[in-house]
Amino acid sequence: LNAAPRRAPRQQIRFLPTPAPSGGGALELVPTRVPVLAEHPLVQGPRFRRLKIGAGHRLDVKASGVFVLGIGHGNKLLTDLYNCHLTKVYTVGGLFGKATDDFSDTGKLIEKTTFDHITREKLERILAVIQGTNHKALLMYSNTDMQTQEAYELAVKGLIRPMDKSPPIITAIRCLQFALPEFQLEIHCLHETQQYLRKIVHEIGLELKSSAVCTRVRRTRDGVFTLDDALPRTQWDLQSIQDAIQNCQLKVETEIEKTLG
């Protein structure tokens, strides 16, 4: 970053004493443009010595996916994005038949159960109920008075959501793949942690009178940032980072304007 060409130094107009061209020993003040010495590269040193990098919503060790970082001024935008309370989308993979202590497949085994009675229809029924109760929680934690007409209008458009701290809420959940004993879910949620999603997988297993563990958690969208904007390990270099920041600038600005006004 420091090797990038910098701005040319400021020029200033100074009256310098120079010997007069007309001869004689008298000194005249001639206005000349000289660069300000304070901005000389040798005086200033490298432009960036430290970078302020902040992290967006947490992603724990066993999970993968989109992880938003803010650099410099981006840290302030991160706070604004947090206050927008946008949903995140996860792809969660699960396995029926096992129950472990930390709800993932690398934990200590507690119990094994049969799962051949589980069908996709039963799973979808459970998911519909989870979505229903969470939708109710969405309306309740949004702290709006349900008796008003504005609450009705927002509810119709689906814009009611909690705008401050609340327990984890799932706004939408559906089954992408179902091949016993494995299954994959797509979960849209707010204010959650990845361990909470693993716990949801475990509870789905319990509801279906069996048990389930979570094999993978992958975040596919965090607010306005999707997998397409994210940089994989091979692209962690300056040029790609700069391009990515450029591409997302407009999206972030519009979203913040829309939600926070």
Binding site: L109, T114, H135, Q147, V156, R174, S210
Partner: protein
């Protein structure tokens, strides 16, 4: 520990056994991956539900309990002295029943549950019994008297000719009378008959409490397939598509062209004559009927603009066609002051007076207004969700979606909406029921739902 070892050594007669090593020596360090895998495979597998596990049928009740209409005696008379009676059950509470209940109906302070079994006991009732709307319930303390309040689902003895073959199809409850529909023995009516709503002649000064009289009605043009009770009148729909009515008619709710009492079920004419009616609905003093072509007809009380789209009068005593251009109508539900219909696309239209479900600004309308489907869970994500059934209580509405979710809205009288809150609900709100809701019956201040468990 070293001291103890030395002491042990001093007592030479004892064999030297170390205090530290108890049991057999185990592996040292954390178990390796192979050991973990072997331990996993060797673990026992538990089975909680087999492949042929069936979904269980349950009944959930909620609302005002002091009349005994919820069927849980411990709400009214707690079993321990320190417990307080529960006046209102704000969230769904499971009611244990002996048989699978196929039909339920809520009246004004009482409930009827019916099962389509061929056993002797087919109908159970609980709640208010001051007019024998639950039949005669012999009191256990005094064998000559009957109960005024029945706190537990108690069997109702029906005078059937073939009790082990006849099945009960449907029950319906009004303000102080009830109707039981059987498949081969017609309709049985019991309860208050001061306006002829039980289909028999009005006897002056008849005492209705502790009465054993259950009347049987068989003379219709074909088999009766649906019975509906209004507040003080009864409607019967037959297989041929005609509608019969009896009972109080001062608001024209019998639809027979006059405002008098009718004590014998009489066929309705008007705009319904010749129309094949597929569903009738009523709960207060207004009635709606749906034909097989998707038209809706109404008659009865119109003080709350229920029929204002066809007439300015407040009582309509002949069925009139309601010319709504909202699509083909599948089901209609009539409440005390508001009405709702369900169209073929799965949308709900409401009109009338009261809390109609479109926010606190809409209090009355004569023209049906649609409730946006996004309130029932419809979104781009779930576009197959639509409403499957609509039911009405006196001032509440209940809608069932095709995913088995129950939405309620309206006046929350004594917690009857089941939302857990006591405030009125101005737009459809989900009721959390642990199961897939198959049917719901709404009363004045309580509701009963028939639910299938998830797995």
């Amino acid at each position: 520990a070293a001291m103890a070892g030395m002491l042990r050594g001093l007592r030479a007669a004892r064999p030297a056994r170390s205090l530290h090593r108890r049991g057999l020596g185990g592996a040292a360090g954390p178990p390796s991956t192979r050991q973990l895998r072997e331990a996993e495979e060797a673990a026992p597998v538990f089975q909680y539900a087999g492949k042929a596990a069936k979904r269980k049928d349950r009944v959930f009740v909620w609302g005002f309990s002091y009349s005994g209409a919820l069927g849980v005696p411990s709400f009214v008379k707690p079993d321990a002295g320190w417990k307080k009676p529960r006046r209102i059950q704000p969230t769904p509470y499971r009611l244990e029943t002996e048989e699978k209940i196929s039909s339920a109906a809520c009246g004004y302070g009482f409930t009827l549950l019916a099962s389509s079994t061929t056993d002797i006991t087919k109908v159970w009732g609980m709640g208010l019994n001051k007019d024998s709307q639950l039949g005669f319930q012999r009191s256990r303390r005094d064998k000559t008297k009957g109960y005024e309040y029945v706190l537990e689902p108690s069997p109702i003895p029906l005078p059937l000719e073939k009790p082990q073959q006849t099945r009960v199809l449907q029950v319906s409850c009004g303000r102080a009378h009830s109707l039981v529909l059987t498949d081969s023995e017609g309709v049985f009516t019991m309860g208050n008959n001061s306006y002829g709503q039980c289909g028999r002649k009005v006897i002056e000064n008849e005492i209705y409490s502790e009465s054993h009289l259950i009347h049987q009605l068989k003379e219709f043009d074909s088999r009766v397939v649906q019975v509906v009770c209004g507040q003080d009148h009864s409607l019967f729909r037959t297989k041929k598509g005609s509608v019969y009515a009896c009972g109080w008619g001062a608001d024209g709710q019998t639809g027979l062209g006059h405002y008098n009492i009718t004590s014998i079920p009489t066929k309705l004419r008007g705009d319904i004559a010749g129309v094949n009616v597929i569903q009738v609905s009523s709960y207060g003093d207004c009635c709606l009927a749906v034909s097989d072509e998707g038209d809706v007809f109404g008659w009865g009380n119109s003080e709350y603009l229920q029929l204002a789209s066809v007439t300015e009068t407040t009582q309509v005593n002949v069925p009139r066609h309601l010319p709504f251009k909202i699509g083909k109508i599948k089901e209609a539900a009539c409440g005390g002051t508001g009405n709702a219909v369900l169209t073929e696309e799965g949308n709900i239209f409401v009109w009338g007076y009261g809390i109609l479900g479109k926010g606190s600004n809409l209090i009355e309308t004569a023209v049906p207004e649609m409730i946006p489907p996004s309130l029932f869970g419809w979104s781009d994500f779930n576009s197959e969700i639509c409403v499957a059934h609509i039911r009405c209580g006196l001032s509440q509405f209940a809608a069932l979606t095709n995913r088995g979710e129950l939405f309620v809205w309206g006046k929350n009288l004594r917690g009857c909406l089941g939302t857990g809150r006591m405030e009125d609900q101005y737009f459809p709100w989900r009721v959390t029921v642990p199961g897939e809701v198959v049917d719901v019956a709404c009363g004045v201040d309580h509701m009963v739902s028939l639910v299938k468990s998830f797995t």
